[in-house]
Symmetry: C2
Subunit: 186 residues, 2 copies
């Protein structure tokens, strides 16, 4: 079984006008995606931001639930946050995975947009079942990952299509659905 990692990039991503920006870290993203990571046997979840103040914020959230008052109040959060790792950017996450596994991860970006040659969830699921390199699933914030990021990854995952043609889910919802499609036996 290949190792699965997640990264949530806060830079470089687009804002609604197509400008490249750095988004703020959202507390709920850390908690929801941390819990998803714990549920679906993800090895680690990188929260990537170049902003030092936001590193301190995330560290404080983790510490609160790990050893602070939160550790007693809610043990299941502690377990989920144990998988959360801070990173400066995508390259730092890649370097960390290489250090941990001895192999460079395959990079799989997620996008709400259609495009040529998208990787299906079924195909990624098969790769995860084989003894290949680790897979790093990359999520964007704001209005999505920049073309610069999409151009450097190995694959872009197919977008989540519902039944209505509307494709504007939160990154939290998209991560939930993708992980379930990758891991759940149907």
């Amino acid at each position: 079984m290949a190792d699965l990692y997640l990264a949530l990039l806060h830079h470089p991503v687009y804002d609604k006008n197509g400008a490249i920006v750095t988004t703020a870290v959202t507390n709920m993203d850390v908690h929801d995606i941390g819990r998803l990571a714990r549920t679906f046997d993800v090895r680690a979840f990188y929260v990537a931001t170049p902003v030092p103040t936001l590193h301190r914020l995330v560290e404080r959230i983790i510490r609160h639930w790990e050893t602070g008052a939160g550790a007693v109040y809610n043990e299941t959060r502690k377990e989920a946050l144990a998988l959360v790792r801070l990173a400066h950017d995508l390259d730092a996450a890649i370097a960390d995975i290489e250090r941990e596994t001895g192999r460079l991860p395959k990079l799989v970006a997620t996008s709400a947009r259609e495009g040529a040659g998208r990787l299906s969830c079924a195909a990624l699921r098969r790769r995860l079942g084989a003894d290949g390199p680790p897979e790093l699933l990359v999520f964007g914030t704001g209005w999505g990952l920049t073309t610069e990021v999409l151009a450097r990854v190995d694959d872009v995952l197919e977008p989540i299509r519902g039944t209505s043609g509307y494709n504007h889910l939160s990154v939290r919802s998209a991560a939930a659905i993708i992980l379930d499609r990758l891991r759940h036996d149907r």
Copy 2:
């Protein structure tokens, strides 16, 4: 095709000590589940709380994105929030559905806990494909729906099991996964 409705109950639900409480409405729940509803052809999403102040809060959120500054800033939110309806409690949601469809909905509760006779997502999916009564999928907040609610529903849906045995997802994540399992062709 049967109509699908969602309700998110803020009362009666358990807190972590098993006391019956009323939880606060979370802004992110309204947005994330509203978007899910829009994506997966849900007819309406009831945010149920008996607290008048919280009704006003949700009304303000909806108004902001519907006709306020938000309507220009982000049209896709407006579309999602158009499906959100305020309700005092579960009975008010049921009455509204009966008014709209002429039929009493089947009540399907969700729970993170295992139990006898749980309804599978596959079985509910088949019911939704037939020409039966509307189905109202009921989610709890806090530490989950009370036994009083679970005792009055027609069915309780099987819990989301990941691959690790950990079953502490946010209600936002659970709703995302359940709707995808009910609607997505695989």
